[in-house]
């Protein structure tokens, strides 16, 4: 594992048993997370984003099982050399004691249901500190909790710690969830759609908050969302996921200004353009495939206007475009015909580029 990487997922395969069938939802997924960066994973519902992150925390539902693959995590200890552990080899107990909450923390999508309704938020924040012995006493934990609440921008934290979740607004609850995640000063923060359930004004505040926290604590973040606007806001790098595979990966600018995979094109095109009110918005036809019988070739081929014959037969490998930019599409094969991205998108990117050059 490279020096600056904190997490590396290699060729991960994961399936769920569904009665007699097997739902093969993560199919050979590889990506990495650098120290201190924000990696965004985008993709439509059901593409496997959440499952991937749950796999990292060892929290897959009972009916799920790992195939091949490894999840390498750099576990830094004070005064010792960094140790690299393969999280897929560790049991639940180890994960609970050494990883979850303390090293890798997670924020869930829905702040309304992520907090125990019967416990004060103070106790919920203190819980993991006490569990992982990050503090010496309850008093210290409380002091730290108040600090944390202050950090996530909750006013009058001394009063709030004694309140119950239902006494807080959605935005405040999400801040509490973030405070919980930060309680043990984790190395990695996974934010699984942390703003999808919030309205725009609060969403923007939370995004600011997360970015701010990263600046302050240097935590590495995996940010999951399907909102490309949000991604543009937070991500250093972006991985686009489709049907259990990463189909494109690159720096944010590379994905937005030089997308290569037809699915990424589709995603970017379906955002309404700001000027042309009369045209139809582009929409990706059809629905994602059922992964109980995953398609043989490129899973996106059936919905793609750019499909090649080979797409229906063979899975495309990751083609490298730059040091940091990869895409899995046969269109990048030297033998493939030259195709242009959708016109709307091309126009929009042109507009971006124009503005960028102006600045």
């Amino acid at each position: 594992m490279k020096e600056n990487r904190i997490l590396e997922v290699n060729h991960l395969d994961l399936s769920f048993r569904l009665g007699s069938e097997v739902n093969h939802v993560i199919r050979d997924v590889s990506f990495h997370l650098n120290q201190g960066e924000t990696l965004a994973i985008v993709g439509e519902s059901g593409s496997g984003k959440s499952v991937t992150t749950k796999a990292i925390l060892g929290m897959i539902d009972e009916n799920g099982f790992l195939g091949k693959g490894e999840i390498l995590f750099r576990s830094s200890q004070k005064g010792k050399d960094d140790e690299i552990v393969d999280l897929t080899k560790k049991d639940k107990k180890y994960m609970q004691k050494n990883v979850r909450g303390s090293r890798i923390a997670i924020i869930f999508q829905d702040p309304m249901t992520s907090l125990d309704p019967t416990m004060t938020i103070g106790k919920q924040i203190m819980e993991s500190m006490l569990e992982h012995k990050k503090v010496a006493s309850k008093k210290e934990a409380m002091a730290k909790t108040i600090q944390l609440l202050d950090l996530v921008g909750i006013e009058q934290p001394e009063k709030r710690v004694k309140q119950y979740p239902h006494q807080l607004s959605g935005g405040m609850r999400q801040r509490v969830v973030i405070a919980i995640a930060l309680a043990c000063e984790p190395d990695v923060l996974i934010a699984d759609e942390p703003t999808t359930a919030l309205d725009v004004t609060i969403q923007s505040q939370i995004l600011e908050l997360i970015k701010d926290l990263q600046k302050k604590t240097g935590v590495s973040i995996i940010f999951i969302t399907h909102d490309l606007g949000v991604v543009a806001n937070v991500a250093d790098r972006v991985a686009v996921m489709y049907a259990g595979k990463i189909v494109e990966e690159g720096l944010a600018a590379e994905i937005y200004y030089d997308p290569r995979h037809p699915y990424t094109w589709g995603l970017l095109s379906s955002i309404p353009s700001l000027d042309g009110q009369d045209e139809e918005i582009y929409s990706i036809p059809g629905t994602p495939p059922n992964l109980i019988n995953p398609p043989k070739g490129d899973a996106f081929a059936y919905r793609s206007e750019y499909a090649l014959e080979i797409d229906f037969e063979e899975q495309p490998p990751m083609f490298q475009i730059s040091d940091t930019h990869f895409a899995a599409s046969w269109l990048l094969h030297p033998s493939a015909p030259k195709v242009d991205m959708p016109v709307v998108l091309a126009k929009r990117i042109a507009a971006f580029n124009e503005r960028r050059s102006q600045e």
């Binding site: 059809g286 046969w330 033998s335 015909p337």
Partner: protein, 333 residues
């Protein structure tokens, strides 16, 4: 890799079936529930057990030469004796060290479950009793269905003052000890089936109405109910066409729970002497009668109790299974 050029030809957007991938399973809800239900071993065992008991209740009394209501002044209080099994040392007609079949010379007689103090064949009585218990179960279901569902739906759906009044009534009904009311019925209307049914009617439906009410309260905020309202559906249509089908799962589960309750209730009434008129005998009556001789002739209580318990067990297992099957959250994958 096969790098033939033609493999890289562009193709038209395929309008394949894959395009229209169904989200979620294609099986209809009930079928899906049934599938989940049959996956539940306990529930399946319960279903089979009930099937068997039902079968025996139908044919049991006719498959031996005895009858449930014929007195036999000679063969009284005989313990169970079954051919073949007796060779294994069980069901050989002995009661402690004493074997009345041998002592009294009934060497050719076989009473599979033994006989009672009037020499009636317990096998036949148990299955006849099972019939009656099933009958009571049916009645309980009927009551639950009609009163419980109706009451719960009206109370939950209309809410406000209606709900408030109806809930007070329920509170009062549950506040009055059941026994007083039941006894009154039995005394005024003569003991028997009718009284038991009426007694069940007074309070038997309350838990069902509670469940239905809370389900309705939950459901009525759903958008499809609002949608029905915007389409101009009347309360009646919304209650019976929109709400009811959606809470039917819960209702079935609850019904399954109320069956054993009713059977139990009847046996309790039998115990305090408010049961059926002889020579009719439900399982409850048989147990209550057999109970009195439990340390003397245990077979009199064991067989009806076993049948009753298996019946209760089965209904409970089925109810549990159904609850899991109808509740997708609980799906046992």
């Amino acid at each position: 890799m096969d790098e033939r050029k033609e493999r890289f030809n562009r193709v038209q957007l395929r309008d394949s079936k894959q395009q229209e991938m169904l989200v979620g399973s294609t099986t209809p809800f009930l079928k899906d529930a049934w599938r989940r239900f049959t996956k539940n071993k306990g529930a399946l065992v319960g279903l089979i057990a009930i099937g068997l008991i039902f079968l025996f209740a139908l044919i049991g009394p006719y498959i031996n030469e005895h009858a449930y209501n014929v007195l036999d002044k000679i063969h009284i209080n005989l313990p169970p004796r079954v051919p073949f099994l007796e060779k294994l040392g069980i069901f050989n007609g002995s009661e402690g060290k004493y074997n009345p079949y041998i002592e009294k010379g009934f060497t050719n007689d076989y009473f599979w479950f033994g006989t009672d103090v009037l020499g009636r064949d317990l096998w036949d009585r148990v299955w006849m009793g099972t019939r009656i218990s099933f009958y009571i179960a049916m009645v309980a279901v009927g009551i639950d269905m009609v009163i419980g569902i109706g009451y719960g739906m009206v109370s939950g759906f209309f809410g406000g003052k209606v709900d408030m009044v109806m809930q007070r009534i329920v509170e009062i009904l549950s506040g009055i000890p059941n026994l007083v009311v039941v006894t009154l019925f039995v005394l005024v209307l003569k003991p028997g089936m009718i009284s038991i049914i009426l007694a069940l009617m007074i309070t038997g439906w309350i838990s069902m109405s509670r469940v239905v009410r809370s389900q309705v309260l939950k459901m009525k905020e759903h958008e499809f109910i609002l949608a029905a309202k915007t389409l101009g559906a009347s309360s009646f249509v919304i209650l019976f066409k929109e709400l009811l089908p959606n809470i039917i799962g819960q209702i079935i589960v609850m019904t399954m729970f109320s069956i054993p309750n009713a059977i139990f209730y009847e046996s309790f009434l039998a115990f305090i002497g408010l049961g059926l008129q002889p020579p009719l005998a439900s399982l409850g009556v048989l147990i209550a009668d057999g109970y009195r001789a439990m340390i003397t002739h245990p077979h009199l209580v064991i067989f009806p109790t076993v049948v009753l318990s298996v019946l209760m067990l089965s209904f409970n297992l089925i109810a549990d299974g159904l609850r899991d099957a109808f509740d997708p959250k609980m799906k046992g994958f």
